[in-house]
């Protein structure tokens, strides 16, 4: 009897928390299938009649597609950049002892601890001086840098825990340094690389603060800026806005649902190590 009550209590908590956590989101997603008129009149929770009007407006008139492509460029470019640079740096710093290594590890890890939003103006200044301000490749470089420390810390923690025998055997066989990295380290580090890739991709996909700070022209905007500006534009179309927001959030949600294991493993490793 007590077990049953205990169980009911658990589910009570879980259901209430789930409703609070996702209720508004699900309602907005459902609203994206309503006509703007139906949204504005309040009332029913479910769309009737069902329409894709909001989506057509978002893609046709607000050019959501272009912003999604921009976001994809930043996310893929930045993820690749962070993965490559972080793996290159993390491997020797996990494996070998050399002069200055500990200082470097400390510096790279400290970069993860700095609240970067405090650096807003200097980042703008650096980007402008380097000619990277309001450039798509500039944003790719910036995101590479922004996610380098996190990628470095996760990859290094993983590589430290990897046994060195395979690489030692390859050294004996006379394999060069970069051959070892490419043929042995990359395949062994694949799980960690996948984890970092998902986390960084979603991080860049969702990034708003620096996108807003470091891009001026509307053709470079990412999708987050686009949906934020939908709201403030004075031709505010609720239907199109909720449809656009739904598309923008479905990408990371979908990725998470497919790659759940990697995300969860990575977050656990990245924060507790």
């Amino acid at each position: 009897m007590r077990r049953v009550f205990g169980g009911l209590g658990y589910y009570g908590v879980l259901v209430v928390v789930t409703l609070l956590a996702l209720g508004p989101t699900l309602w907005v997603m459902a609203s994206s299938l309503k006509t703007t008129g139906q949204i504005l009149s309040g009332g029913s929770l479910l769309p009737q009649p069902f329409t894709l009007e909001g989506y057509t407006t978002a893609f046709k008139e607000a050019e959501l597609g272009r912003y999604l492509v921009n976001t994809l460029v930043y996310a893929i470019g930045g993820t690749l950049g962070a993965l490559v640079t972080a793996l290159l740096a993390a491997y020797p710093m996990a494996r070998y002892d050399f002069r200055g290594r500990n200082t470097l590890v400390a510096t790279f890890s400290l970069a993860l601890a700095i609240p970067v939003v405090g650096l807003a103006t200097p980042e703008f200044f650096v980007m402008r001086e380097l000619g990277l301000f309001d450039r798509q490749y500039g944003m790719v470089i910036f995101y590479t840098a922004l996610f380098f420390p996190l990628s470095f810390v996760i990859l290094r923690a993983f590589l430290v825990s990897l046994p060195p025998e395979l690489e030692e055997a390859a050294v004996v066989d006379g394999a060069g340094y970069f051959t070892i990295v490419r043929r042995i380290v990359v395949p062994l580090a694949r799980p960690a690389l996948a984890t970092v890739a998902v986390i960084v991709f979603v991080g860049i996909w969702n990034e708003f603060f620096f996108a807003n700070l470091l891009m001026a022209s509307s053709e470079n905007q990412n999708a987050q800026m686009a949906i934020a500006s939908f709201r403030t534009q004075f031709t505010f179309d609720v239907g199109a806005t909720v449809a656009a927001a739904t598309v923008v959030m479905l990408v990371p949600i979908g990725l998470f649902l497919v790659l759940q294991r990697q995300v969860i493993a990575g977050l656990t490793a990245g924060t507790t190590k």
């Binding site: 205990g6 589910y11 908590v13 879980l14 928390v17 789930t18 956590a21 996702l22 989101t25 907005v28 949204i39 504005l40 009149s41 309040g42 640079t85 972080a86 290159l88 740096a89 710093m93 070998y96 002892d97 050399f98 290594r101 590890v105 601890a113 700095i114 609240p115 970067v116 939003v117 405090g118 650096l119 807003a120 103006t121 200097p122 200044f125 650096v126 840098a145 380098f148 420390p149 470095f152 050294v171 340094y177 970069f178 996909w205 990034e207 708003f208 603060f209 987050q224 800026m225 934020a228 939908f230 923008v248 990371p252 949600i253 998470f256 649902l257 759940q260 969860i264 977050l267 507790t272």
Partner: protein, 307 residues
């Protein structure tokens, strides 16, 4: 000379150690580290230097003029700065005293592997991967006075007064605070991972000694979660210290600065071209962040093992 070298190598051994790079790989190692070093130097260290220096002057589109600590004096004398600081404290307090305990409780429940735990873990993680901008839009519609879900729900129970939650001075801060309180996925996942590493024997022994399920959670699980709860508290505090997207998109800090956060406040200064002043606030944020890291690590003795 040999003695110095010996000492240096020994000093670096406890933090991982490892062999020297194999013969001939000195250059490849150096080349591998340069890109990372350039990135960190260009986008973290140089900006930190720029931040520290320009905070001491009047910096804008027209150039730089050294002023000393004037920006900091102006900052501490500005009521809006204090409002932003107060709000940031309120957001953080809600995070630490509502969001974190809620996430820990749900994590402990799901770690019992009640039927359906995987589904709940997945579903409750979803809000964590939704961007701040999308979240802001969701809640701007949710709180809308005319057609928002909140007022139409209140309508059902006859309590709808057509209240504009986000743009009334008396509710704006609470409305913005509430938006992120139920983003629990991250906390749940960390708590569950930590509980999975607790030896089962501990619970079995306690059960034999007649401890009730609740006692077992309070006396065994909770103390062993100290480390991870410390980490969660730290990350929560750093997250709210950096709070921008939701506030900026929902209210831009209004009405009457009731919801302004420290980062929104800096951003305003930046947009107004008062870069030196913006950087004084930036330094304040960076220092608070570093103090939080040191303070919370001490408070929770993060890193010390309990088992």
């Amino acid at each position: 000379m040999p003695a110095r070298r010996w000492r240096r190598r020994r000093a670096s051994v406890p933090r991982g150690g490892g062999p020297r790079p194999p013969r001939g790989s000195g250059w490849p190692v150096a080349v591998s580290i340069v890109p990372g070093l350039l990135l960190v130097g260009t986008f973290f260290l140089v900006p930190l230097g720029v931040l520290a220096y320009t905070a001491l002057g009047d910096w804008g589109a027209l150039g730089f003029r050294f002023l000393g600590l004037d920006n900091f004096e102006a900052m501490f004398a500005d009521d809006t700065f204090w409002k932003a600081a107060r709000n940031t404290v309120i957001y953080s307090a809600a995070g630490v005293f509502i969001q974190v305990p809620l996430g820990v409780v749900v994590g402990i429940i799901l770690a019992q592997h009640v039927p359906g735990w995987k589904a709940f873990r997945t579903i409750l993680f979803i809000p964590f991967v939704i961007s701040g901008a999308a979240y802001a839009l969701i809640f701007s519609v949710f709180y809308n006075a005319r057609y928002g879900l909140l007022n139409s729900t209140l309508d059902v129970v006859g309590l709808n007064r057509g209240h504009d939650w986000l743009f009334s001075i008396d509710t704006a801060l609470y409305a913005v605070t509430a938006t992120s309180l139920f983003i629990l996925g991250f906390i749940i996942v960390l708590v569950m991972a930590e509980i999975a590493s607790i030896p089962r024997e501990l619970y079995e022994a306690a059960e034999m000694d007649g401890a009730s399920p609740l006692q077992r959670q309070l006396r065994i699980t909770l103390p062993l979660l100290r480390n991870v709860i410390g980490t969660i508290v730290l990350l929560t505090l750093l997250g709210y210290l950096a709070l921008f997207d939701v506030v900026f998109i929902l209210t831009e800090g209004g009405p009457n600065d009731e919801t302004v956060s420290l980062v929104v406040y800096t951003y305003r200064a930046y947009i107004n071209g008062a870069w030196g002043y913006a950087n004084a606030v930036g330094i304040f944020i960076v220092i608070v962040g570093l103090l939080l890291i040191v303070g919370v690590r001490r408070l929770f003795r993060i890193g010390e093992r309990t088992l």
